[in-house]
Each structure stands twice: as C-alpha cells, then as structure tokens.
C-alpha cells in the first residue's frame, strides 16, 4: 500500500482547522452545560466575526503585502446589506438559518463588488499612499451609510439618501405594513438577532478553506511573488493587477460575510461602529499574530479580543494596559538581541531534526 504523503504546508493547514474544530467543540460543550456567563456567551459571535476579519485582512496585508486601513468598510457594507436582506425577507423565508446564510452570501457579494470598484483605483498605488486611500474609502463608506434610509413594505424595498439632513424615515413613503430597517445616523434598528455561534464556526471554516487553498494554489504563489518583488513577477509574465485584484476582492468578500454575521448579532447597529478604529483593531490582530500566518491571526484575535474583557476588573485602566501590551510586544519581538537568540534556537532545532532524519 502506498504511504499517504501529506506536505508540510497541508499538515499545518489541517492542524489549524483541527484546532478551530476542537475549540468549537469545547466551547459548545461549555455553553451547553452553562459554563459560560452571559457576557462570555455574548462574545462568541463577535469573536468569530473578528477571526474572519483578521484572516481576510491577513490575505491583503500579509499575503498580498498591501497595507489596508479600510477593512471595516467592507465589513460595514456586508453588515448593512446583510441586515437589509434578512429583514426584508423575514416573511418570505421563515427559516432563520437559511435567512442568515442568504444574508451572508448577499453581504459577501456586495462587499466583493465594492471591493472590486475600490480596487481599480487603489491597487494602482502602493505603500503609504495605498494605506491612506483605503482609509479614505473606509470613511467614505461610513458616511454614505450614515446617510442611508431603507424601509420595506408590501411593494418592496424603499431606499433614499439623506444627503443634507432634511429627510427622515417618513420620506420613505412606506405602506401600512411597512417598517424601517436602516434609519440614517441611528443605523439599523430593531434587527432580529439571528446570528449563531454555529454559523460563526461554519464561516470560519469556509474562510480557512478558501484562504488556505488560495495561498497554496498557483494563484496564491503568484500573489506572493507580486508581494516579494513586483517587477520580477511582472517580468516572468504574472499579471500584477489581476492577482492583486483577486486577493483584494476575496478579502473584501470574506469581510462582507463576517459583517453580515456581525450585523445580525445586534438589534441596534450604527455605521459609526465600523470606523477607522475598527480597521485598526483588526490590523493589530493581524500584525501581532504574524503577517501571512493564518493560525497566528486566529490566536491573536481570540487573545486580544478577550484581553480587554478579562481586564474588566481594572475598569478604566484596561485600554491603557492594552496600549502598553501593544507597544511592549512590538518592541520585544523586533528587538535585535531577542531576534538573534530566537534565530539561533530555531537553527539548533533544525539541526537536531536533520540529525534525527539522518539517523533514521
């Protein structure tokens, strides 16, 4: 019988998936037995959303190598299109899980379309210019959604933009059975919270399958070639724009799906939730987890999302501690002395492994 050989990369990917499944099983068991208190149980869905956000941002920042500061914008697009989808189909599709799935798909599609449109100008730039333009787009999306008024009645969806502050929900001209879904600056109100932890887990698994397969595929290698040396990649015939767009749009779509799940977890949600600070929060998860390291992103998200909550006892000092942790981690991991020790240790480990392999 031929021995099943699994490459090192695949083994690592499978390990990540196994870890996520294990964590899901343990947490679900805890939840079922009442091992989680209210606030801990309430964090489950947001953690799943932020994990998907971090993994998808890692695709842009770590694998594609472009710093994006507007990732929350895609989350916002996904959240509001998802909420509108789920709320307007409340009568037509009674099954909540099906509606949730549909909302996530719609959120992902809309975010992908917006990602494509934004990608056309953004991906022509590079470095800090690209960063500032993604930041700009994130803010533009936020302000546009703040102006958005959406309602639904028996005749269908009503959408108007309130550009100069003179219009309100009455201008939607809803019928008798109509209801307002998105109320401008107040955001989405009265949303049915149909998001579940299981849905979050499934979304994480889908994200892992998509991103890990993309990275290990021919396309993924092309994307990384563009990151490492754009000119060299272009010279060997890689279409830079095409692969950059592929990574950017995939990342946006996943963020959109995460946004839809996030949006359907809260009964009230304003567009200002998805501001520049949220983009930064996710970027911090990615960088502390390690650029291009998917497993690192997941672990960093879980730890850093729970950290401020765990520090609740310190009340006012928690964000201060968070800031100090951020600076200290960055200073120590990039300290040349510590780095050289780590490299030496890794080399030693590798040498021992090689010796074992030779002995066998």
């Amino acid at each position: 019988m031929k021995k099943l050989s699994i490459s090192k990369g695949t083994r690592s990917d499978l390990l990540t998936c196994a870890g996520v499944i294990l964590a899901f099983v343990v947490v679900s068991a805890l939840k079922a037995n009442g091992g989680l208190n209210r606030s801990q149980a309430g964090m489950l869905v947001p953690v799943c959303c932020y994990i998907v956000m971090a993994v998808s941002l890692n695709l842009t920042v770590g694998i594609l190598g472009d710093l994006s500061l507007g990732h929350a914008g895609f989350m916002s697009v996904g959240a509001f299109t998802g909420i509108i989808t789920a709320m307007s189909l409340a009568e037509k599709i009674p099954s909540a899980p099906l509606r949730l799935a549909l909302a996530m798909v719609v959120g992902a599609v809309f975010a992908a379309v917006i990602g494509f449109l934004i990608g056309i100008p953004v991906l022509r730039l590079s470095g800090d210019y690209l960063a500032i333009v993604t930041l700009a787009f994130g803010e533009i999306i936020k302000e546009l959604i703040t102006c958005l008024l959406v309602g639904v009645d028996e005749r269908g969806l009503h959408v108007i933009f309130n550009f100069n502050g003179s219009r309100n929900a009455n201008d939607l001209n809803l019928g008798a059975a109509g209801r307002v879904i998105v109320k401008g600056a107040q955001g989405a109100t009265g949303t049915q919270t149909i998001a579940t932890f299981t849905a979050g887990f499934i979304l994480i698994m889908i994200t892992l399958v998509v991103v890990q397969n993309l990275i290990r595929s021919r396309q993924g290698r092309a994307i990384m070639a563009v990151r490492d040396n754009r000119i060299a990649a272009e010279a060997v015939g890689i279409s830079v724009t095409r692969y950059k767009m592929m990574a950017f749009v995939t990342s946006a779509a996943l963020a959109g799906a995460a946004g839809a799940l996030f949006g359907l977890n809260y009964s009230n949600l304003a567009a200002t939730k998805f501001d520049f600070n949220t983009s930064i929060l996710v970027l911090v998860f990615v960088v502390l987890g390690g650029l291009g390291n998917i497993r690192g992103s997941i672990i960093a998200t879980v730890v850093l999302y729970i950290l401020p909550e765990a520090l609740r006892g310190f009340a006012n000092y928690r964000m201060l501690i968070y800031a100090v942790v951020l600076i200290v981690v960055m200073l120590t991991t990039n300290n040349p002395v510590i780095k050289s020790y780590r490299d030496q240790w890794q080399q030693k480990l590798r040498r021992e492994k090689g010796r074992e392999a030779n002995a066998a």
Binding site: L125, L283, V287
Partner: protein, 292 residues
C-alpha cells in the same frame, strides 16, 4: 459675501491643518513612518495650554509656550522610547507601535481629565467687521493664518539655510550615507520630532480656540486629515503641506456649505483619491522613477 465668509473660515481651518501637516510631513520625510500618535500630541498640547490658562491663570501666549515645551519633550521621549528601537524593524511594526502610543496618550488623557469635553477659552477673542458688518472675521482666524505663514516661511528657511536643516534633508534622502558624512542621525531625527511636536502644540491651541471643545479624542480626526493634506500636497515637501492644508480646509468648508454637511469628510477624501490618481506623488511632490 456669504461665499467670502465660507472661504475665510475654510482658509483658517486649512491653516490649522497646514500647521499639523507641516509637522507630519517633516516627520514622515525623515522617519518614513505614519506617526499615528501625532494627532494625540495635538490633544496633549490643547490640554496643557488649557490647564496653564485656566488653573494657573497664565496669559494665553505663555500657556501656549508651556504647551509647546511639554509637547516638544513628549515628542522626543516618544521617539526615543518607542520608535528608535524599531529603526531597522519592518514598517508595519513601527505603525502598530505608533497606534499603541496613540492609544496610550488618549487613554492617559481620559484617565487624567475624564471624558467630558472641556470648554477651552480662545487664545484671542473678538471679531473684525468688514464691509459695514457684512463680513466678520474672528481675530483667531487672522492669527491662525498669520501663524501658519510665519511657520511655513521659518521652516523653509530652516531646512534650506541652516546646518541642522541640511542634515535633516540629508537624512531623509539616505540615512546610511548621511551617517557616513558625520551626521548624527539619531539627534537629527529627535530634532525633527521635537519641531513636529512643538508645531502640534501650536495647532492644538489654535484648533481648540477655533472649536472650543477639548476631549481625549480631539486630535485624532484632525491628525488624519492633516496627513491627508500632507499627501495631497506631496509628502515631504514643506510648501506642499502648506498648500495641501489650505486646499483641504477650503474644500471642506465649501462642501459643508454648498453640498452636504454629512458628507463633507467624504468629499475631502474623494478629492484626495482623485488627486492621487492623477498625480501619484501629490501636487508638489517629486515623482521618483522606479529603478530595476
């Protein structure tokens, strides 16, 4: 006449952006990093001058001078403790550290002064009436514009004529080569942060006089907008930061008046995106050819 009033308020707002952008552009030019904490140094400047004026009863000018001294020191300390150890680290690590410093400053201010906005007393009060009272310009606007022009000219002369200015330009061009020529790179970068932070303190006092509420988050949006202004005018260029800041302020004021109050930031950012697509190096920036 209304248009003129909007234009004047735009120019004075733009002058504040320009002062912040001048500091930003110098720091970026030499350290090549997005200093997200810059906006929070503005906030610190605002608080220090507020405390000096209201608690110690010092005259406005003295309080601004004290704020400048404190912020200069703060800038040097931040650079030495947080950014200098990361000089050779990847860019993103420095960016995250800057974000950490920004959080640290904001939360320290939150703990010390509380979240409630403080009512800032303007540095100068009163308005100038023109055309039989049809156009009124506050003295603070005039002061802001004057400050901005003086600072711009002083910085241009400083970088062009003095030895330290020359050292700065050399460091921003090539740090390694500058060091070989006997320039103390660390001291030059410290000096740049000191100047940038002192300007941030001035901007803080002016900003709070302009819209007299002071909160721990006061500095973040002006900080981002000033960076936008610096990119707009061509990052690293002093006249560019000035031009970018003024244009940004005018666009914002006119957009608020004639198009939409809600979307004024969006319009500013949209203009930035268009400019960057047409002129990727900004209005007055140098376009560098990519070498293979």
């Amino acid at each position: 006449m209304k248009f003129l009033a909007y234009l004047v308020s735009g120019i004075s707002l733009g002058s504040i952006y320009a002062i912040i952008a001048l500091g930003y552009t110098m720091v970026y030019g030499i350290a090549k990093m997005l200093n997200f904490a810059h906006g929070d140094v503005i906030m610190v400047g605002g608080y220090v001058s507020f405390l000096a004026a209201s608690n110690l009863g010092l005259p406005p000018l003295v309080s601004v001078l004290i704020a400048m001294c404190v912020c200069t020191l703060l800038g040097i300390v931040i650079e030495a403790l947080a950014y200098r150890p990361l000089r050779s680290a990847p860019k993103l690590a420095v960016l995250i550290t800057a974000i950490g410093v920004s959080y640290l400053l904001q939360n320290t201010a939150l703990l010390t002064f509380g979240a409630n906005p403080k009512a800032y007393t303007p540095v100068v009060s009163g308005t100038l009436q023109l055309f039989d009272g049809q156009l009124s310009i506050s003295y603070i606007s005039l002061l802001t514009v004057a400050c901005c022009i003086v600072i711009m000219i002083a910085l241009t002369l400083f970088t062009a004529k003095t030895r330290m200015g020359k050292a700065m330009r050399a460091c921003s061009e090539d740090k390694g080569a500058a060091q070989l020529m006997g320039i103390n790179v660390n001291r030059t970068i410290s000096l740049t942060f000191a100047i940038g932070s002192a300007l941030a303190a001035v901007a803080g006092a002016l900003l709070c006089s302009f819209s007299p509420t002071l909160m721990p988050t006061t500095g973040s949006m002006p900080g981002i907008k000033a960076f936008t202004a610096a990119v707009f005018g061509g990052i690293g260029s002093i006249p560019g930061a000035f031009l970018g800041g003024i244009l940004l302020g005018v666009i914002e004021a006119l957009a608020k008046a004639y198009i939409s109050t809600q979307l004024s930031n969006s319009i500013v950012f949209a203009v930035l995106i268009i400019i960057l697509l047409v002129r990727p190096a900004g209005l007055l920036g140098k376009h560098t050819q990519e070498k293979v």
